[in-house]
């Protein structure tokens, strides 16, 4: 009995399970069903209630392996990696899927090295190859200009991080049952060298742009920092968050965590609105997996219109205030 199950790595913060944990359960469920094996959710953390663990089962897991210990309250890669490597050696999963989050993209390569596994980053598609039962992992590369499909023919486990928001969590199904396996932390697995000594939340629009359903981004067309107020207004009104092009960030109009594109964040929201952004290749690569793209720009030849579902060629200083005004009327 080796190399059988599909594992997904759940994430938590202060005892709460993060949404991405459910998204990757949806991915894992499909793989496990195609292979006819069980799906396990792996969770390292502290103060996780049984209710929360059951939700992992209700959203697709057959088993939950939980290591619940105060030392694991925060993500410290050395500790998490040691614990996960230990579990991998003991239970020998076939596939391990994690979210392409800052933790997932740190933990997975650290673990892959130790267990001689193949790892593919930031996948947008997963499938099982007929005949060989190998995991097929598809990911954009070279600025999103190609889609590469990658497999790990010989090494096990096969590991992948999956782009956040690229799948939906399954709805809660309380009729699903499964096993919760509580694992004692072995103290020798705690590295103890790295300490987390502080945390501060991102100021202003605190929501992470990678988690947002709606992103309203501003670019050079805004002309000055103060004009970002237009973007903030529209974002607030639509219940979205504020993004920016590299140009706007480099000019100091808004901070780096808002930057969308290859040298910033790759996003896949339901709705992306680009305002005063001409659309460099790097920016387009960062947004092309969005469900819907809307652009407002005064240059009819701007590249952004080539990947837009709806575009208005016009002066953003006329269009945006008017859009805000009309939206108010529509929903009243």
């Amino acid at each position: 009995m080796s190399s059988r199950d599909v594992w997904t790595i759940a994430e938590q913060s202060q005892g709460k399970i993060k949404e991405v944990s459910y998204e990757i359960l949806t991915r894992g469920r499909k793989m496990a069903d195609k292979l006819g094996v069980e799906l396990a959710s792996i969770l390292l953390g502290y103060n996780i209630s049984d209710d929360k663990l059951n939700e992992l089962i209700h959203r697709g897991a057959d088993k939950v392996y939980i290591v619940n210990d105060s030392v694991l309250e925060n993500f410290i890669v050395e500790n998490y990696s040691n614990v996960l490597v230990d579990l991998v050696r003991k239970y020998k999963p076939n596939i391990i899927i994690a979210g392409a989050t800052t933790s997932g993209r740190t933990l997975m390569p650290h673990v892959a090295v130790r267990v001689n596994a193949g790892l593919t980053a930031d996948c947008t598609g997963l499938d099982i190859e007929k005949g060989t039962n190998n995991l097929l992992q598809t990911r954009p590369a070279i600025g999103g200009n190609i889609l590469a499909t990658i497999k790990t023919p010989n090494n096990r486990p096969q590991m992948a991080t999956v782009r956040v928001k690229s799948t939906k969590p399954a709805p809660i199904d309380r009729s699903r049952t499964g096993k919760i396996i509580k694992i004692e932390l072995k103290t020798e697995l705690i590295d103890g060298k790295v300490e987390r000594i502080g945390f501060r939340k991102t100021e202003e629009e605190a929501a992470s742009i990678q988690d947002a359903d709606i992103i309203v981004s501003g670019g050079r067309g805004l002309r000055k920092k103060e004009n970002f107020v237009l973007i903030r207004q529209l974002a607030k009104n639509l219940g979205g968050v504020v993004g920016a092009s590299r140009d706007a960030v480099d000019r100091g109009w808004i901070s780096y965590p808002h930057q969308v594109g290859l040298s910033g964040k790759t996003v896949s929201p339901k709705l992306y609105i680009a305002i005063g952004i001409s659309g460099s290749i790097q920016h387009l690569a960062g947004i092309k997996t969005s469900d819907i793209i809307i652009a407002i720009n005064n240059d009819p030849d701007a590249q952004i219109f080539k990947i837009s579902d709806f575009g208005i060629v016009g002066d953003l200083f006329e269009v945006v205030p008017l859009l805000n005004e009309r939206l108010a009327k529509v929903v009243k």
Binding site: T120, L147, S263
Partner: protein, 254 residues
């Protein structure tokens, strides 16, 4: 891309420094200026990567090392991390290893964490600020989804840095002169005594099996309003479009 092997064709292409690595190079030079020591830049790549190393030296790095050879061709991130960790061990005495967040071509971000895992040294990814280096310890801030967390760790350590950490300087005239003259040692699998079966495409756990070319364009509706009335019409059209696409406009003024 080589469509047959699924590997990147790195030969004969002019090598530039990965834009996100410039921030790591800048931090390395700044730390050297503040604390002394040496900033050594190292690259695993085709022979042409020498040019990128010289560029880093012209910015202020002291030395460069080129890790190259046909045995390395087609290496995935596992093998690349392995070879670079061996190269670093070969250099011997080091306090800090800096990498960019990820390359803008392969875009994996896996090599930095991989190197730290092989070397078994502390790792901080997405570092946006070095707060303090004191008594062989380093305190850094890392940029995560909802904010910045502060980590303290002993040296030697490995940091992958984000753009926010610095502003890369331009090469200086003196730097350029130095970069032109300096000898860059070339390290191969042979002189690092590496087991060749573990290298390149052969040694890589992953294989690219297919390359697709995604369609970039969307056939969207682009309207060009002319005058106030048509602008209003365009905006109503946009709102209708959002409603049709089931964007929840009810959140408005919530």
């Amino acid at each position: 891309m080589d469509e047959k092997t699924g590997t990147m064709i790195r030969e004969g292409v002019e090598s530039i420094i990965n834009p996100l690595d410039l921030y790591a190079i800048e931090v390395g030079i700044q730390l050297k200026e503040e604390y002394g020591g040496k900033a050594i830049v190292i690259s695993m790549g085709p022979p042409g990567a020498e040019k990128a190393l010289r560029e880093a030296i012209s910015m202020g790095c002291d030395d460069g090392i080129l890790v190259t050879g046909k045995e390395f061709k087609g290496s995935d991130t596992w093998v690349t991390s392995f070879v670079l960790s061996k190269s670093i061990q070969n250099i011997g005495n080091y306090d800090l290893i800096l990498t960019g967040e990820r390359a803008t071509d392969g875009d994996t971000g896996q090599v930095g964490p991989g190197i730290s895992s092989f070397l078994d040294i502390p790792l901080a990814t997405y570092v946006s600020k070095i707060v303090e280096i004191k008594d062989k310890n380093i305190i850094v801030e890392r940029l995560v989804e909802d904010g910045y967390e502060t980590l303290k760790m002993p040296l030697p350590a490995l940091l992958t840095v984000v753009k926010e950490i610095s502003y890369p300087r331009l090469p200086t005239l003196r730097g350029k002169q130095k970069a032109r003259k300096i000898e860059i040692p070339v390290w191969s699998a042979d002189n690092m005594k590496l087991d060749k079966s573990k290298l390149g495409l052969k040694g890589s756990p992953t294989r690219v099996v297919k390359i697709g070319h995604p369609k970039v364009t969307r056939s969207g509706t682009i309207v060009k309003p002319n005058g106030e009335e048509s602008l209003l019409k365009a905006i109503d059209q946009l709102i209708k479009f959002m409603q049709k696409k089931r964007i929840n406009l009810r959140r408005f003024n919530r």
